[in-house]
Amino acid sequence: MRAFSGELFKTVRRPAVWVCVVVLLAVAVSIGYGIPWLFETFGKLPASSSSSLPPGTTLADLKVALYPANVVRQTVQQWSVLGGVFALIVGVLLQGSEYGWSTVKTLLTQRDGRLVMLAGKLGALAVTVLVLVVGMFAVDVVSSVAAALLDGKSIDFPGAAEFAKGFFALYLIYGFWALFGIVLATLFRQSAMAIGLGLAYALVIEGIIFGVVGGLAPDIVNPIRQWFPITNMSYLSDSFGSIGIRGIRTVTAQPYAGPTHAVIVLLAYVVACTGITAFLVRRRDVTS
């Protein structure tokens, strides 16, 4: 508890953490709602997109995605990777800076053992991720209400169970990313390399490898791909369904695996990241 309180004390006072939270929320409002609403209110539907939409679809029809009924689906599906990048950065900052500032030696010469100190840090990280997830849902709910009010639409939210499911899914996804940041920072004992590799993985590596190879030989790639984290985030977010436009739901390919599989795989990654970090923290000499 002492270690947790201490970690929380310094996390809430750290400007970089709040910058990450605020930037993510600002991006969520602007890219998730502000810009689409402006475009769909004042713009024109590109001719090339009409073929993938139900006949007679107008831009105003697309606004249905911005209304409260779709808020859970929008939050989980739009922000699992991009928001996850911010969670990754927070994870790296919390652990990597200890090496950068050499405060790891200060931490480990206080009172509690190494694993207790790590548990305190993971506890503080869990709270920070919770703030991110609550913040994401809060700004999306407010934005969706604003969009509905501006367009004179009714405010119908999904049920509590849908909210709970969405909240759990996003918390699991961000939790994975944050722990992935922690394990990379511990492995490299610094922030720069951890953020660089983390971003490369999140935005490029898994997507490109499976995107290219998967197109050539899906029967071989899909059984392998089902065990990778970003793929499982897709399985999980796809389980929230697609948005109905003019009463017709967009048809998407059936995911290779379902949400239960995704939750199990992501939980396994969470456990693995925690275990690897604990092993490294416990075994390694502190020489910086």
Partner: protein, 298 residues
Amino acid sequence: MVETHGLTKHYGNGIVAVDRLDMVVRRGEVYGFLGPNGAGKTTTLRMLLGLIRPTAGSALVAGALPGTPGSLASVGAIVETPAFYPYLTGRDNLKLLAIYCAVPESRVAAALEQVELTPRADHKFSTYSMGMKQRLGIAAALIKEPELLILDEPTNGLDPQGMADVRGLITELGKGERTVLVSSHLLGEVEQMCTRIGVIRKGKFVAEGTIDELRGAATITIRAQPAEAALRVLTAEAGADNVNTTGDGAFSLKVDVNRTAELNRKLVQAGVDVTELGARERSLEDVFIELTGGEAGL
């Protein structure tokens, strides 16, 4: 308070940083851990704090294994440069440590006062000078009122006034029951602060004792002619083992310095002309150079 038995640290590249170190630091003393740069002092202190795992051997610190809660609860330490969170103030950095150590927050103000940092306590750590960082490091080490203070090169990077202040502070802290283990490569510093000294060279312990014990007994230096006759007389009076011929034609005798007049008389009676005669006490610097083979670090 600190006891090591065969403490050893090998690194993967074949470097033996610390080699079978047997060290005892007694309760209440200010123990100087002296050695040239790279001798293995910091590695040893890191092992005593549980930051580095020994390759072989064992240590007990405050009666418990290094790095365990039982040991850490009684130890305050600075290892090399004090490291704190740059975005927090000095006071908040200490508050944080107070939370980790479960000590009352009132200790923060007392520790800041003790190192005379109160006027700058509410400025961010990133704005501190080296001297202020070092003071905050000492305050952090003191916050849990430890029985044992482990200070690694606490005057590193300080200006002369800062060094004098920190030395004075350490001397004060060492009064009473508290034990202080301070490492340094600066001889004068250790001589001023410490009651007992251990000297390490290339990872091995080469000497341990009080400053007087390390200096050894004073010697008598004699220059006389003819040298052969003088050597005969001195060997007869002091014993062959206690007479050394120095390179410049003088003799060095390990005898009671009160015998100076008597030796002079015997030499004169034997027809030897004495041109120089006097007692000489070895400086700690002489001892250090002898023990460390004249490596850098004075």
